[in-house]
Amino acid sequence: MFTRPENMRMYWKELMHQCVEIGIGSLGIVIIISFFMGAVSAVQTSYQLVSPLIPLTTIAQIVRDTVILEFAPTVVCIVLAGVVGSKIASELGNMRVSEQIDALEIMGINTKSYLIMPKIAACLITIPMLVVLSMVLGIVGGRLAGAATKILSTDTYDMGLILNFVPYNVFFALVKAYTFSFIISSIPSYYGYYVKGGALEIGRSSTKSVVVSCVMILFADYVLAALLLNK
């Protein structure tokens, strides 16, 4: 896979194309799920905090930390494994079955390098950006839901956000985002590139790639948490 590109300009063009497909293409779903994740976690946290001794700012802290540590990187990446992963696997699978990959090989193009590398690179560039966006939108969603349901005022929420903030959590979330981005792009690429058969097999390999990616994301989530959060 790691050979000198035949034409750097074409690889760059393909990378930009994939960034648009993966990054911009997933923007809508990421915005929607992030916003509602934050909103729901604010409402549910307030429902569970029954003691009057616990300050309302705690709701904002819990929303902030759950969104940054888990919801934004893990849940968003699991959703992206479905959206982006199935797209990558079916695109490559269709190219394989319809001999488009063979056509590129015959032209003298390193197909693994030309077709897979830009997808992995595009995921590594765009998915962490989407995760950061998801963090912000999740927190904003919690703020709006808290104010709309009169659970806590926006001022209280804002105060809770800055209390006991640990910047390391953002670093940890980004480490997870990069790891999951690689999983989301590489596993479907493998299943798509090596598919054999016809339309049915493309569907099967696409489904399998999403399932394997989700399991690997959860496994990697546990390993990273054990390695990086274990005091």
């Binding site: 034409n7 488009q100 003298g108």
Partner: protein, 297 residues
């Protein structure tokens, strides 16, 4: 570059008989199996320059596998493939990449890139391997589209084209870099007889015009009779017969005859052709009368 040493380069231009030939493909003792199943067994032949070289045989006889071995999509288990005197089997990745820019291929399903327009499809090899500006590339695209009689479809997507048009776009893309070798995998599959003839004629004309070595996989008898200048007939993975379209008529190979003249009508036509060649029947024969009669011997 493929050729680093000038002496080795000149030496490489000799075939096994010592003749220097450009654009020739020679394969020796090719053997390929998938698991227990032997698909190609000791197949050797020479594909000649400037000719339409046909690989014919029934479905499952190993035609496609042989062609895929020749272009490097499959690695043969044994044997040697020689392009222009250079062993393709021994080439490293970079040398193969260099050689492949001399190869064009028309796939059975055309293998056009779905997400690209006709113009982008044909321009793709130019974008990848040349430093020409857009105007020059567009000029070349229009030239090859005109050559395959398909002007004015630049902005259409493959899904908007008919089967015959897709094949012609596939041919245009295959020849856009002026390759020395053209491979066609069942160019007529899925086409009506009239369109098939147009595609066959186009491939033959291009082969002669650019003096290319064209290798065609087919089991279409019209193609065999139209283009068969150098034919290899495969039967169960082995080379059964070799010759040209004229030799087929007079061949006594039973397997070949059963394959080529599968219908009774074609068998009768062959018999008549043989009698005509021997001067036993005249050109102004009554076809209906002859076909009504007993089988000729």
């Amino acid at each position: 570059m493929i050729f680093y040493n000038p002496l080795k380069y000149l030496e490489s231009k000799k075939n096994s008989a010592g003749w220097r030939i450009w654009g020739m493909i020679e394969f020796k003792n090719i053997r390929k199996s998938f698991g227990e199943k032997v698909v190609l067994d000791d197949v050797s032949h020479v594909m000649e320059t400037g000719k339409a070289n046909l690989i014919i045989g029934q479905s499952g006889s190993g035609k496609t596998v042989l062609q895929k071995c020749l272009v490097g999509l499959f690695e043969p288990d044994e044997g040697e493939i020689i392009y222009d005197g250079m062993s393709f089997t021994d080439m490293n990745v970079d040398e193969r990449k260099e050689l492949r820019q001399q190869i064009g291929m028309l796939f059975q399903g055309s293998a056009l890139f779905d997400s690209m327009t006709v113009e982008q499809n044909i321009m793709f090899p130019l974008d990848m391997f040349t430093k020409n500006n857009f105007r020059d590339k567009l000029k070349r695209v229009n030239e090859v589209l005109a050559r395959v009689n398909l002007e004015g479809v630049n902005k259409k997507y493959p899904a908007e084209l008919s089967g015959g048009m897709k094949k012609r776009v596939g041919i245009a893309r295959a020849i856009v870099l002026n390759p020395k070798f053209l491979f066609c995998d069942e160019p007529n599959s899925g086409l009506d007889p009239q369109t098939s003839m147009v595609i066959d004629k186009l491939i033959l004309d291009i082969t002669r015009e650019f003096n290319m070595t064209t290798v065609i996989n087919t089991h279409d008898m019209n193609s065999v009779m139209e283009m068969g200048e150098n034919i290899i007939y495969l039967f169960e993975g082995k080379k059964e017969w070799t010759g040209n379209k004229k030799d087929i008529i007079f061949s006594k190979n039973e397997r070949l005859n059963n394959f080529i003249f599968a219908s009774e009508f074609l068998q009768d036509a062959k018999d008549m052709r043989m009698l005509e060649a021997k001067g036993k029947i005249s050109d102004d024969r009554d076809m209906d009368e002859l076909l009504k009669g007993d089988k000729l011997d």
